[in-house]
């Protein structure tokens, strides 16, 4: 397995690629205009926001098409823009790396981003208080942040050094923070934003330390040089870098043990959940590990840790997803779980990098579609998120139902929909590991598939089928529910994404289109033979397990009436799942409470010890000052005496020094 993949030397960008900076500049320009232009841009700001992202997508598409015309070994290009940090030993150039991997992300980010921008035009037309078109300022702010996010995310994936990546990494963190707290007057949103920011900081520290280590060992942070010379680093350092990068990935991608912020982030507006917290930003961790593949190729231990984290997270996310009644939170935990699959895949090394990216793409389609569908449901239901108040919505929102349903089928891996191809491949690759690893990781991935089918079916049943539990009820703001289909600006993106959910997998998979395309960046996919289970069995196993999940869900949820309030008397596993498998409690006990104690102790020391010392000295000085002051009597005679005394002392001292 330890075949070192040749790192392809990038060529200088030419042709269409020479204008690659446009990709970043366009959305950032939009953000700048909207943020600096103030109220004057209220009326047309959202249209500019959409236009810049659509333009970036069109350009990205042209760039992509120009690249498909090139031979595979010329597809890795670098575009030098300017010297960013030219300081003595550290020389960071700001440049773009335009290669198959970054192009995949560019298309995903601008494509899904453009759809979600369009969707937001409809979604933001009445804000969460139900005021129609009440607040154009809010809408402008929202689109400014969305543009900022797209720009930062493109810097992240297009940068040609780890420092540039870090810039984008922090940029998306900022955009995410701003957008989660978009309704900052709601305490829950403000808290969720803070939580996301802080937990991401933990991961960012890991990423920063990894970059420092690279610089300390190799004196550079450019991808080309780091990857070409990764082998020069001692094994220990290499492992440390791999683990620190993983820590960064865990923070951004909501992986164990930093997963707790992602579900809370659903406090943000739904398009944000779809764009940032499902389709794009949270997959940055997968990108980071896939991009750093030359480093991970060299450290098997590092990869093993990645796989363990992935497997653990995919189970945690799926289990918790089964217990929640909040539609967005279920989808959020589903995201955690699906990213767990991707991390698991990239942890498998050369066999899995491309598979991780494959699942990332298909997931981007169907999860964005699912979130937009959820948003559409909420839009028609007075922003209600509790599924126990839904039911029987299929008739009232037919388009939403169909598109959501297709996304659902894609997610649970219904044969020949997009999720089927990508997830099966990952499960197969996991089973193909040697020895115990095949069984453990393959088993986890397969079990995850069953759980996914269960919680998603439960969600479908509670939302679209069964009795209309919302009849006669009133929402929190005292209005009755009048479910209705959403406007075209919302349904069209959903339809587009539904197409992606259905056909994306087969399009990308057939003829190894995607895997072959990614080869210049990630190396050839090593199809491992042997392992725990033969490759041909996997599809049947996964589909079978999914069917079991669906059936269970139907037996437990579909056949019986759903209580309008969550039952309190439940078994331990449900209680544990409802409590996020005690993830928050764990954080609370392990970090928050000791942190509070430490702070209190330090405050005590500061108040009593440090302040006491300082105040004591101050009192001493002040007291002596007050006493000495009395010597300043104002009488010339005493001043003259003091001068005489000083002169006598001084002269006496001089003579003593000389004659003793």
């Amino acid at each position: 397995m330890e075949t070192f993949l040749a790192v392809q030397e990038p060529l200088a960008a030419s042709g269409v690629a020479e204008y690659g900076w446009l990709l970043i500049a366009l959305p950032l320009f939009g953000a700048a205009v909207l943020l600096l232009g103030g109220r004057r841009t209220n009326a047309w700001g959202h249209l500019l926001g959409c236009a810049t992202v659509i333009a970036a997508f069109v350009y990205g598409l042209a760039l992509f098409l120009s690249m498909t015309g090139m031979p595979a070994d010329e597809r890795v290009r670098e575009l030098h823009l300017f010297d960013w940090i030219p300081v003595n030993a550290l020389n960071v150039e700001f440049g773009l790396r335009i290669d198959p991997l970054s192009m995949v992300f560019v298309l995903l980010i601008t494509g899904v981003g453009a759809l979600i921008h369009i969707y937001s035009v409809g979604y933001m037309s009445h804000d969460q208080a139900g005021r129609t078109g009440a607040d154009n300022t809010e809408r402008r702010r929202f689109f400014a942040y969305l543009n900022l996010f797209v720009g930062a995310m493109l810097i992240l994936v297009l940068g040609n050094s780890f420092v540039t990546l870090y810039l984008g990494w922090e940029g998306v963190g900022l955009a995410s923070y701003l957008l989660i707290a978009f309704w900052q007057h709601r305490p829950a949103a403000a808290t969720a934003a803070k939580k996301a920011f802080l937990m991401n900081r933990v991961g960012d520290v890991g990423l920063a330390l990894a970059i420092f280590l690279m610089f300390a060992e190799l004196g550079t942070t450019q991808y080309t040089e780091v990857f070409a010379r990764a082998g020069e680093m001692p094994t220990g350092v290499l492992l440390a870098i791999a683990l620190l990068l993983l820590l960064g990935a865990c923070g951004k991608s909501g992986q164990f043990p930093l997963q707790a912020w992602l579900p809370d982030a659903m406090e943000g507006p739904t398009p944000v959940s779809a764009l940032i917290h499902a389709a794009t930003m949270v997959t940055a961790g997968v990108y980071l590990i896939a991009r750093s593949n030359p480093i991970y190729n060299l450290t098997e231990d590092g990869r093993l840790v990645v796989t363990i984290i992935g497997a653990l997270t995919l189970l945690i996310g799926a289990i918790i997803g089964c217990a929640y009644d909040d539609i967005k939170k279920v989808l959020a935990y589903s995201t955690v779980s699906q990213i767990g699959y991707m991390i698991l895949a990239v942890g498998l090394g050369p066999a899995g990098y491309a598979l991780g990216i494959f699942h990332l793409l298909t997931h981007g389609f169907f999860k964005a579609g699912l979130f937009l569908g959820a948003g559409s449901v909420m839009h028609g239901m007075n922003d209600e998120v509790n599924m126990r108040r839904f039911g029987g919505l299929a008739k009232h929102m037919p388009i939403t139902f169909v598109t959501f349903g297709l996304g659902y089928l894609a997610l649970i891996g219904f044969p020949f929909l997009s999720g089927y191809f990508s997830k099966d491949e990952i499960v197969a690759a996991a089973f193909a590991q040697e020895g115990w690893r095949g069984w453990v990781f393959g088993g986890a991935a397969a079990l995850g598939a069953a759980l996914t089918a269960f919680y998603m079916t439960r969600l479908m049943l509670m939302t679209f089928f069964g009795e209309k539990r919302w009849k006669g009820q009133k929402s929190a703001d005292g209005r009755e529910y009048h479910p209705h289909e959403s406007p075209a600006s919302m349904t069209v993106p959903m339809i587009v994404l539904a197409f992606g959910s259905v056909f994306g997998g087969v399009l990308l998979y057939s003829g190894d289109r995607l895997l072959g395309w990614l080869e210049p960046s990630l190396g050839a996919v090593a199809h491992a033979e042997g392992g725990a289970l033969p490759h041909s069995v996997i599809p049947f196993l996964v589909v079978g397990l999914s069917a079991v999940g669906v059936l269970l869900a139907w037996l437990l949820v579909g056949r019986r009436p759903v209580p309008a309030t969550a039952p309190a008397q439940v078994s331990f596993p449900v209680r544990a799942a409802r409590a996020d498998l005690y993830g928050n409690a764990l954080n609370e006990t392990l970090f928050a409470r000791p942190g509070t104690w430490l702070t209190r102790a330090l405050v005590y020391v500061d108040n009593r010890g440090v302040d006491g010392l300082v105040n004591g000295i101050a009192a001493l000085l002040g007291g002596s000052s007050g006493r000495l002051r009395r010597a300043q009597t104002g009488f010339v005679r005493s001043y003259a005496l003091s001068i005489l005394g000083g002169a006598v002392l001084l002269t006496a001292a001089l003579l003593m020094v000389r004659f003793t």
Binding site: S625, L628, R629, A640, A653, L654
Partner: protein, 528 residues
Amino acid sequence: MFQATLGSQDVAQSAVNIPEIDWQAISPVVVVFVAACLSVLVEAFLPRERRWSVQVTLSLLTVVVAGLALGLYVNSDAVVGTGGITVAGQAVPLFSADYPALFLWGTLLALSFGALLLIADRSVDGGAFASPVPPAPGGDPVQYQAPGRQTEVFPLALFALGGMMVFLAANDLLTMFVALEVLSLPLYLMCGLARRRRLISQESAVKYFLLGAFSSAFFLYGLALLYGYAGSVRLVDIAAATAGTDRPETLLYAGFGLLVVGLLFKASIGPFHAWTPDVYQGAPTPVTAFMAACTKVAAFGAILRVLTLAFEASSWEWRGVLWAVAIVSMLIGAVLGLTQTDMKRMIAYSSIAHAGFLLVGAIAMTEDGLSGTMFYLLAYGFTTLAAFGIITLVRDGNGEATHLSQWAGLAKRSPLVAVTFAFLLLALAGIPMTSGFMGKLAVFSAAIADGMAPLVVVALLASAIAAFFYLRVIVLMYFSEPAQDGPTVSVPGAFTTAAITLGVVVTLLLGVLPAFALDWASVGGFVS
């Protein structure tokens, strides 16, 4: 007729050793003295109503011309740094325009330009000076305001400036003593010229005069003892005498001690500082600015010259004593400043602490110590000048409002004045990006390089203590509620604005780009 009395040319030549005078080198001093004399004539012969404008023009022009003369000389083709007034047959000039003297002359001229601007400003409340007319019988002597304006302050200031320039350039103790008196006597008078609060002003003048005369006596006594020791009052001769071993050293050290007391008094170094707060408080604020900025330069110029030229060889013996003096001065300034409630007194104590810091550099006895001390003088002079300029602006019905409590909440009413003053206080405290920091850095690093690390530690502690009272004023201005019927801030006249701007700009410039001034200060040392 004069020659006839003496009998013949030959007699005159043998009796008077005509010194060789490098006129260009001493031209700045000549300009100042000639103008001072002119200024007296103006005072005597011009009608009262025209005097003010003529005096202002004359004195400012004098300083500018003297500065130009200095600049011309420094940039001329002549060999710079060795000129002056040299007695035939002696290697070292009697009165030396060497590099330190030139640098400090430039400093003095620039500072006195600023101080003269403050003195000349009449836009605020008619100016700070009154003609010395006694109060009418039965009036309130404390709040008495003298009528009319006076212009004697200008010739006095010019004479004082001339005396300072000679004082720091004299290589001979007698010349130095004469210069000391020339600079001191006008200052005593200037302190008593305040138009408001005349009693405290006159009290300060008398105090300053009595104590100044007292310390002059010390200086003179020390001079006499040193003459007894070395047989000469020339600094180089004293230095040569200390190299020998056959003389009574009691005379040397007693003489040194008494001489130094006279110098330390002028520089307001503790424990010879007692006059400083009273005089700084009582004198008209523009005069205080002049004293605080210029007198310090002159006194430290003389201290540096005397210590380096005459007593370097015996520095091992006296250094410990001056260490103690520096420590006492720094601690007195810093600690006593903590409990002051009057702005001018507070700055006075600050100046005592700064004098201690300066002494640290002066006793380093290295090239860096010399240049660092001179840089510090330049930096401190401009900062303190601008600070006093600001103090003239904050006023209430009884003139300047100098009580600290009256400054509470000033930032709310006059943000510009508050931010300027805050900046100057930070400079006095020695915060980076200000000249105060660079000055302390230069002086303290020179001291450490010369093995005086413990002294520097004490100096840093004193700086920390002193920072408290500077910052307290900033806190007061920014974070306190304004006092009821507090003082108003007058709109400064053009002169005061120019002086404050000059001080602030130099403070910032020396804090950000100190290299050029440090280069000037370190071109060369004393000629011996």
